[in-house]
Structures are given as structure tokens and as C-alpha cells.
């Protein structure tokens, strides 16, 4: 078997954070090669290097395709060779037809006038190849996600694909659609088209993959040849999560008290698809001085849960009972939630947490301006003192409090957001991915701050995709999957394998239930 693609010694860093270290990865002609790993293990980054999203020069290492070393400048270079990537977020234009989408960039044309007959003829051919029975005129917005995925694949075929990269293609598909998609990959393999499949679902990987490569912390840690050795799920899971703790965690004296936040029967519907229940009848508790973690994969509903709790900032038809310090509280809008003593540090600092063009001072005081104002008039000296005080306490490294927040590093920006919420003097802080995009040193400082908050008697909730982090800082960990808690561990008792297993087991269960669900749905449609 000849190697079609060989990536040798590929490394890539972002702002000093190493995302890939010396990765070696090969794909043979006509094989399906699965790429697995935790969130943030570097799978997507590796694929972006391969597909030319990060051009030559922005990474170290060598890419050999068809026996020749290649230096891709952009995605056009890779597409010319037949390397096509289908991202998790589909890149289709919703209000255009299937045919228009497939031939968006290079429609068959004469003197710039599109040859519509040719477009339709070829679209029909491609749709037949991917097994999609729809008119070329159908708008993308009228198709379900599974069918949209097939349109993406048809688009890839139109570009004479030789290596197809699919980034979590079945993440939002039901069992039947997933099976259909995987069957396509098997059919392509028979035609000599190679595929790279990124997936979290090990049962699917086991079904179609010829080889499996495991990525962890930006390194390749294991490659399994499925044709010569049996696939052991345990071995894959262990490879995915087992690691020496790359960062250590500061010590904390646990002084856990009475329950401060109690949530019972919390249910939330999707704001745009009211029939979809995103959070399913969840019970949740945080005690004084306790750090509680919520583990789960992307899309498990952790952020949705937190934001729905925080003044119904997300979701519709929210039901459930919330008590703070044993008393029922009104959390019907964000100001009420803040008054009640809740704070939410968003996972998306730049879009939702900060006003980047404003200075450190204005960002810190934004949620509690009335503290530094009398009769609605801001006392600028009081404000300056409060901001400077937090800048010192949180060790925010900036020239002064007048520096624009957008010019600071991720760790310092995170400390500004934490300051903003500390200033509201909350009883419970929910921190959503508090260390995402932050270098190791700043991570340690954030952990220290979390410990200080707990020691001061506040309840702290940490949502994180890094399981090692949760195990390192939390007293108790909930595991969330598909909008429900599927496991709960004491911090001392939790391990990455246990968490991963809780997620995976439930995933398989859900696939079975979903499969029967979707058939009912299709008959109705």
C-alpha cells in the first residue's frame, strides 16, 4: 500500500501556545483513516494545516502528497490536488439552491454566462452518486442537516476529490443519516477515494476505519491498524486521555458548607427550534466553598445550561426551580440574576465578555457602575480606585487601567472579566471554559483565583472540556451529555477514563434511541 499523503514532523503554535508538536500522519490511497482525540487535542488544527487554511510558513514540518513535497499557499492549492475539507460548520449558502451551492466557485460557463443546462445535468449526476434524491432547485434551507452534509460531499465530488476530510460529520446527525453517510465513505473507498474521518463516536469509527490515529496534546500517541489487530475501545480511550499532568494545580483547603445554589427539574427548549429540548430535567447543586465541575463534549449542553440559568440569557420555555441560600429567587432576566448573586463568565471572552475597544477600567466596572456612582452620576475617582484595586489584586498586567482591553493577552483579558464579576459580589460564579486560549502560567493564576473564591465561601462552577483541569480543581464533577447529567463523581474519585466512559456509554445508548426516533420523524415529514 502506497502512502498518498505523508505529514512529517508538523508543529504549530498560536501566540506561544503549542497546538501541534512534531505530528506524523500518513494516509494511504483508498483508505479510511480515523482521527480521534479530546477537544483541543489538535485534530482540527492538523486538518487546517493539511488543507491550506494555515499556509506554508505558518507551521513547521513537511507535507508530501503523491510523492512530492508540497507548500500550500491557500485552500485553492489543496483543492486543485483533490484534497477537500468539509468543516463541522457547513459552508453552504442557505438561500441558494443545491445546484448553485455545488457550483458556487467555478460554475460551467461561457464568457461568464453560466450554462444552466450543464449545471443541472452535472448536479443530478453528483446527487445520484451521493444517494440524495432531491431536485437541484431545492434550497439548502429546506434540507435537513443530514442532507446538507450530502450536498457538501457532492460539492467535494464536483472538485474531483481524491482525499476527503470530514470534521465530525455525524455530530448533529441521527442514527439513520449517520449510517447513510458512513456507507457513502465505504462506497468512495471502493472507488479509490481516501477519507480522513474526525469523530468522537468510537462505534462509528470502529465500523468504517482502516486505521485509527489518536492525537493527544498536539502529539500523535498511537496508530492502530484495524485490519491486523482487534479494535479495543479501552485502548483508544486510554490513549486519548492518559497523560502526565502537564500543568499542576494549586492546593486548596476544602471548607464546604451549606448548599448555596439548588436547581431542580431544569428544562430548556432551543430558542430557534422550540420542539427541541436542549436541557432535560436537570438537578444541580453547589455548596458554599465548593468548586463543582461540569464535564462533557462540545455540544453536550453545558453552556446552554449555564446561560439559561443566568437570567434566561439563552433558550425558551425554561422550567424548573432555583434556590439561592435556600430561598426561591427570580432569575427571569440578567439584571435580576446579578442582583440575586449569580455571575457568569462566558466561554467567548471577545464576543460576549469584553468591550474590546474600551479600557480596562470601564470593562471592570461595567456590571456594577451604580456602586461607584451616586444619583446616576459616576464618581470617576471612586471608579478609578475600584478598577486599580482589582487590577492589583488580580495581577492584571497592563500599563495602567486606561489600556484598551483588546490589546492585552488572553490571560489578562480573562482576569478583567473575572474582576468585573467579582465586583458584583456574587454568591455563585459560573466559569465557562475559564482557561481556553490561555498559556500555562496564566492558567495557574486562574486556578489560584478559583481557589481563593472558594475559600472566601463562594460557590464556584467550572465548565471545561479539559478533564484533567476539572479533576485538578473540582471537589465534585457532573458529567453532562445530550442535555442531561449522566454521571457524578467526587473530585478525588474522578478519573479521565471514568468521565470519558460515562459519556461514551450514554452516547451509544442515545444513538439507539435516536435511531428509532428519527424513523418516526421521517414518516411524519
Amino acid at each position: 500500500m502506497t502512502a498518498m499523503l505523508e505529514m512529517r514532523g508538523v508543529s504549530k503554535s498560536f501566540a506561544g501556545v503549542r497546538a501541534l508538536r512534531d505530528v506524523n500522519f500518513t494516509v494511504n490511497a483508498g483508505e479510511i483513516h480515523a482521527l480521534v482525540g479530546e477537544n483541543g487535542a489538535g485534530k482540527s488544527t492538523l486538518m487546517k494545516v493539511l488543507s491550506g487554511v494555515y499556509p506554508a510558513g505558518q507551521y513547521e514540518g513537511i507535507i508530501v502528497f503523491d510523492g512530492e513535497e508540497r507548500r500550500f499557499r491557500d485552500i485553492n492549492d489543496t483543492e486543485r490536488l483533490g484534497i477537500i475539507i468539509i468543516h463541522q460548520e457547513l459552508a453552504l449558502i442557505p438561500l441558494m439552491s443545491i445546484a448553485e451551492n455545488i457550483f458556487l466557485s467555478h460554475p460551467p460557463s461561457w464568457l461568464g454566462v453560466i450554462d444552466r443546462d450543464e449545471v443541472y445535468r452535472r448536479t443530478r449526476e453528483l446527487l445520484a452518486q451521493v444517494g440524495l434524491r432531491e431536485s437541484p432547485d431545492t434550497l439548502i434551507t429546506d434540507l435537513g442537516v443530514g442532507k446538507q452534509q450530502l450536498v457538501e460531499i457532492a460539492k467535494a465530488l464536483s472538485k474531483k476529490v481524491r482525499l476527503l476530510i470530514l470534521d465530525e460529520p455525524t455530530a448533529s446527525l441521527n442514527e439513520a443519516d449517520s449510517a447513510a453517510l458512513l456507507d457513502r465513505l465505504l462506497a468512495f473507498r471502493a472507488q479509490g477515494i481516501a477519507s480522513i474521518l474526525i469523530s468522537h463516536k468510537l462505534n462509528e469509527v470502529a465500523r468504517v476505519a482502516d486505521r485509527i490515529t489518536v492525537l493527544r496534546d498536539g502529539r500523535t500517541v498511537d496508530t492502530i491498524d484495524c485490519r491486523s489487530e482487534p479494535i479495543e475501545e479501552d485502548r483508544i480511550i486510554r490513549s486519548m486521555v492518559d497523560r502526565d499532568l502537564a500543568h499542576r494545580f494549586p492546593e486548596r483547603q476544602a471548607g464546604i458548607g451549606e448548599p448555596v445554589l439548588t436547581v431542580e427539574g431544569w428544562s430548556v427548549q432551543h430558542p430557534l427550534h422550540p420542539e427541541r429540548q436542549v436541557i432535560k430535567n436537570v438537578d444541580f447543586e453547589v455548596r458554599r466553598g465548593e468548586v463543582v465541575g461540569i464535564a462533557g463534549l462540545m455540544g453536550a449542553g453545558r453552556t446552554e445550561f449555564a446561560m439559561s440559568l443566568f437570567g434566561r440569557a439563552w433558550g425558551k420555555s425554561i422550567r424548573g426551580r432555583v434556590r439561592l441560600d435556600g430561598r426561591d429567587v427570580d432569575l427571569s432576566n440578567v439584571p435580576a440574576a446579578i442582583d440575586a448573586g449569580l455571575a457568569y463568565v462566558t466561554e467567548d471572552r471577545k464576543q460576549l465578555g469584553l468591550i474590546l475597544a474600551d479600557d480596562v477600567r470601564k470593562n471592570i466596572t461595567l456590571a456594577s457602575l451604580y456602586q461607584v456612582a451616586s444619583h446616576g452620576v459616576i464618581d470617576d475617582i471612586k471608579e478609578l480606585k475600584a478598577a486599580s484595586d482589582y487590577r492589583n489584586r488580580m495581577r492584571i498586567r497592563s500599563q495602567d487601567v486606561y489600556q484598551e482591553a483588546g490589546t492585552l493577552s488572553g490571560g489578562n483579558q480573562q482576569k478583567i472579566v473575572l474582576s468585573k464579576w467579582l465586583m458584583t459580589d456574587p454568591k455563585v460564579l459560573i466559569l465557562d471554559e475559564p482557561t481556553r486560549g490561555i498559556d500555562v502560567g496564566a492558567k495557574y493564576e486562574i486556578y489560584t483565583i478559583i481557589n481563593e473564591l472558594a475559600e472566601a465561601g463562594r460557590g464556584v462552577v467550572v465548565i471545561s472540556s479539559e478533564m484533567a483541569e476539572l479533576i485538578g480543581v473540582c471537589d465534585r464533577i457532573y458529567v453532562m451529555n445530550d442535555g442531561a447529567f449522566v454521571g457524578e463523581f467526587a473530585g478525588s474519585d474522578a478519573s479521565q477514563e471514568k468521565i470519558m466512559r460515562a459519556i461514551m456509554r450514554n452516547d451509544r445508548l442515545r444513538s439507539k434511541v435516536r435511531g428509532s426516533d428519527s424513523r418516526v420523524g421521517e414518516i411524519q415529514a
Partner: protein
Amino acid sequence: MTDKTVSLPEEKRHAGFIRNNLRNYGMLLSLFAIMLFFQVMTDGTLMQPLNLTNLVLQNSYIVIMALGMLLVIVTGHIDLSVGSVAGFIGAVAAVLMVHYHLDFPLAVVACLIVGAVIGAAQGYWVAYFGIPSFIVTLAGMLVFKGLALAVLQGQSVGPFPPTFQKLSSGFITEMLPDIGTLHPTSLLIGIVLALALVYAGAKSRAREVSHGIEVEPYALFFAKSVALACVVLYFTYLIASYRGFPNVLVIMAALIALYGFVTRRTVIGRHIYAVGGNAKAAKLSGIKTERLTFFTFVNMGVLAALAGLVFAARLNTATPKAGTGFELDVIAACFIGGASAYGGVGRVGGAVVGAMIMGVMNNGMSILGVGIDYQQVIKGLVLLGAVCFDVYNQRR
């Protein structure tokens, strides 16, 4: 990306200081340059007391609306209807006072309330339904242009009662004995104002020093205060040597002071900038973004109504064409004054200076006999140039 948190060397900090001040004072310097240019080109006509007074009267309604427009633009929206609303309110005022003989104060209050209702009607769709303000106010522009025609039945209505005319063409009452050609009351007010400004500046600086906050060097502060006092006194002298302060200048100055204070010093002002800077982050910080947007439109409606009254009083008649094109001058004033079309950035002082730049150019070019055709071309280019300068400045 390199870590920018390390402290900068001294000369770089100095450069940053100059650059920031260039941004803040650049437009003010441009205004002075433009005034100087026309002063020379018109052989001194521009700054003659009569012309200066006219300049104030001609631009008062633009400045008044620019205050409201600035808030709308800072929240990230636009209001295209202000010209039509001003025209419509002028028509309503005429009908109330001329046809129905309603008292002048009652009619004014009624008109301001109608303005608030118009602003609320438009702001409701923008704030609570998320309809783009461009579309809502474009519709409003057509609606109120049409309603103005309907209310006036296609005719000009006037003249207004003399007390109402005073709103625009009146001057503050002289309370002191006559001293030659100067109006002493105006002169006194000007002197008091100059002293008050310098005193307020010195007091706030002293307060900052006492709290150990870094302030600008004393020499710079002193020079700035002297320059400010001189400018205020000089303009007071010029205006006092014609007929004293116009009533509308007093209204305008009070409004500028009020809006300057609200935007810089109050919680509401800070919240408005936060909504424009990052609406989602503001909302998650507990700011009632929808309500704030709604009230900026209500405020705009009231100020457009006031501007409509001032304009009608100045013409002494309400015509169906009144207000046409005002929105463009008002929006241009805000952008020339450094407001950002993306929201979150803009100062009251900037919008006022922007309005004055437009006003001085109109006036100066008219004195020079530049045709209305090329006046528009030049104004358009100045708008583009000012915004390009701003964008260039930000990129550096």
C-alpha cells in the same frame, strides 16, 4: 502576537500621548483652520459680528439634532427620519398656533410630546423587534414628509405669533445699563462662563492630584485653560458687539452641556457606549440594551421636534419642504466629529465641532459666491476625508 503588557519606554509613551490628543483635538484644529481660511478669503466677513450671529442661527437646529443623532449612532443605529420629523413638527406647530390660536408654551410642549411619541414609535421596532434602524427610519422619513404635506394641505402656513418667533430670532433681554456698542449682559455672561470653565478645570485637576492620579503637565493645563478662556471671551465680544446672545444660543449651550455631562459622567451614558461597543457583552453584564436603544430614539424624536420648532420660528412660516435634507447634514456632522459607524465611539464635542465645520463651510462658500452645486461636492469630499483620516488614525 507579542505580549504588550510590558511598560513602554518613555519616548513611546510620549508619542502615544500626542497621537491620542491629535485624535481628540484634530477636528477642533481643522475647524480653526477652516475658519481661518474663510476669514482670509472673505476679507474678514466671516467673523464680523453680524455674520457670526447669523452663523449661530443658521446652524442651531443642526447642532440640536446632532446631539440626539450622536447617541443614536453610538448605540450602533442611524435615524434618517429627523429632517422629515422636524418639518412635520414645524407644520403641526403652525397649525396649532396659526389656525387654532393655541398659546405658544402649550403648543411647544405639545410638539415636543408629539416628537417623543414619534421617536418611541420608531424606536419600538428597532429595539424590541430588531428591525434595522435604516429601514424603520427610512419609512419614517417618507411617512412624516407625507404627513407634513397633509397637515399643511400643501400650503405654507404663517406667520407665527411674535412671542414664538423670539425662540429663534430673539436675543436675551438686556438688564444692565447701556455701554456704547456692546451688550453688557451678554458680555458679563461670557466672562462668568469663561471663569467658570477655567475654575471647573482647575478644581477637577486639583482633585485628581490630591488622589495621586497622573495628570497632564501644569504648563499644558495652563496653556489649555488660557486658550479656552480667550476663545470664549473673543466670541462673546464679537457677539456682544452685534445684538448680544441669541436665545437659541443659550438653549444650544445648555443642551450641549447637558448631553456632554450625560455621555461622559453618568451611568446611563456609560451604558449607551457599552451597548454600541458590544451589545451582547453589555446584555450579559446586566444592561437593559433594548430599553436603552428605545430611549435613544425617543430622545432623538424630542430633539428633532425642538429643531423643527426652532427652524419654523426662524423662517416664521411652516412650509411642506421644511427639513428636507437636514438628516444628511446632521449625520455628516456626527461622522466628521469622529463618531464610528460601527457604534460605541463618538463624543458630543465632536458632533458639535462637526456641525460647526459644516456650518462654516456653507456660510464661507456662500459669501465667496461658490454655487450650490460645488458646495455640495466640497462638503461631500470633506465628509469622506474626515472619516478616512479617522480610520487611518485608528489603523496606525
